[in-house]
Amino acid sequence: MLRFILRRLLALIPTFVGITLVVFIMIRAIPGDPILTILAEDYSEELAQEYRQKMGLDRPVVVQYLIWLKGMVTGDWGNSLISQEPVIREVAKRLPVTLELLVLALAFAVVFSVPFGVISAVKPNSMPDHTLMTVSMLGISLPEFFLGALLLIVFALKLQWLPATSFVPLSGGLFENLRHMLLPAVTLGSARMAMFTRLIRNSMLEVVRQDYIDTARAKGLSEWLVINKHALKNALVPTVTVIGLQIGYLIGGAIIVESLFALPGIGSLGIDSILQRDYPVVQAFVIVSATGFLLANFAVDIVYTFLDPRIRVR
């Protein structure tokens, strides 16, 4: 199993290199001379020449890329043009916030969607099913920033039950931290919860038609076991793959939610740096997000093999 995981991990390297290449090209493709931005008022032809040499911009592009890639891999991500701080330090500070947000949102989505999907599928076309399907359709169609804005106004500003756009890190106490994370996590998780609910329902409907479900019933198992043991595990197998794809949407949504709730995570860092044209930070933001997506899909792959013995290796 460990060797299998390791092998899969190694197989990610080409994709990772591809990602860095795309980011490198993206940064080069931004119109305008980066030296101009860095030097701003101090600009002079000599100084610019000196900077170009210092940053290796006079070398061939391939060499530039390799130097840059080496920096990315060894953690030399440059300094922020705005704060002059090392980018990697800022990213390290903010990464836990984003990870917590993602984990909470995904947990929220999964914890509710599984029972909802099952309830829907057990009695298709019943009242509960229709209600859940209607609500989930609304959930899928609701953009994060609108839902977030509504929740913010109702629960934070009007009712004042929960804090608005402030943040308390985990070190400030679990309860306080969760209180501040609740609205963002619910905002981010809702659309995915709606989507998973529908997926699990459809998957369950497919599974309960299978012969082995009849076998389980014919054995005399309780309906509870038939549904929650025999049907659900099979229904989750295809769902897990889709959850992997949905993590992409979750990462995209986190960018929006962090900006909306002013959470100090990677997403809001990315948006701020883009609006301020702070390119060293922008490239770090993109690489970290894309790599996170890559690793998340990898994790899903592993879970998938764990769920489905047919593709498990020994």
């Binding site: 012969d211 076998t215 005399g220 309780s222 025999h230 047919r310």
Partner: protein, 323 residues
Amino acid sequence: MNNALLRIQGLRTYFYTEEGVVRAADGVDLEIFPGETLGLVGESGCGKTVTAKSILRLIPDPPGRVVEGSVFFEGRDLLKLDRRSLRREIRGNRISMIFQDPMTSLNPVYTVGEQVSEAFRAHRRIGRARALRESVEILGRVGIASPERMVREYPHRYSGGMRQRAMIAMALACRPALLLADEPSTALDVTIQAQILELMKHLREEFQTSILLITHNLGVVAEMADRVAVMYAGQVVEKCGVERFFDGPAHPYATGLLHSFPGMARRAGRLDPIPGSIPDMVRPPEGCRFHPRCRKALPRCTENPPPVTRLEEGHLVRCWLYE
């Protein structure tokens, strides 16, 4: 005649589909006596599986429903029994079922041991370890080599024949009085088929189980069955002892079946398939359902459904020819 183990009377199971009401079982009468094997034969789609599933109330609802009839078993009507007793006392305990396709009838995500254990644990208060030990035992009895190892394997490591053996083990775990075997060997290749039938015969002796044996294969009937029931378009059209059947049944459809079966036709000298195909179960023909395909059809066959006639003790036929 009231000593039947199982007695199905007037069973009607309908499916409510977009195309209309499928009358999959439309007045089925059957009985199975203690210790006997009843062969249920008929073309594909005539309602054999639906009849067997109706006994254990395994019909998916929606779209299906048992709308009428009774299934008496050991003095109780299974169709009226509360769900809890049905589950605890009947399913997997007094009556077990094995299905047509062993490739799909085991759950792919649990080990075979787990699945066989469940059959024990559903009906007896025993722990996990004990159930697993008994699973090893019974898997050995049905001919799984090195069962200690195989209990821990997932179904995809089993061949078709082994899976069907595992299904049989699961079904016999609680020594049921009745086994509903829905084409237990059809999906397997010939040599494996013979092995499975041999195993069933052997276990039938050992466990004293009655069997409802559903099959297309008249060879299997000849091999295994004591009596035969022939189904056509949701109804039983003839019931008789197995010798009577192979000597020449009364119903033209049963005769047709016999003549279209390669093994039997050799004796008769030619293969003689029944013309046409099974009717639309949403709108079955008026009168006798078989009349559009029947060589001996009389005028009244097109008008009124034929009554059931008793030709001799234990030989019933649903046909106007014998009225």
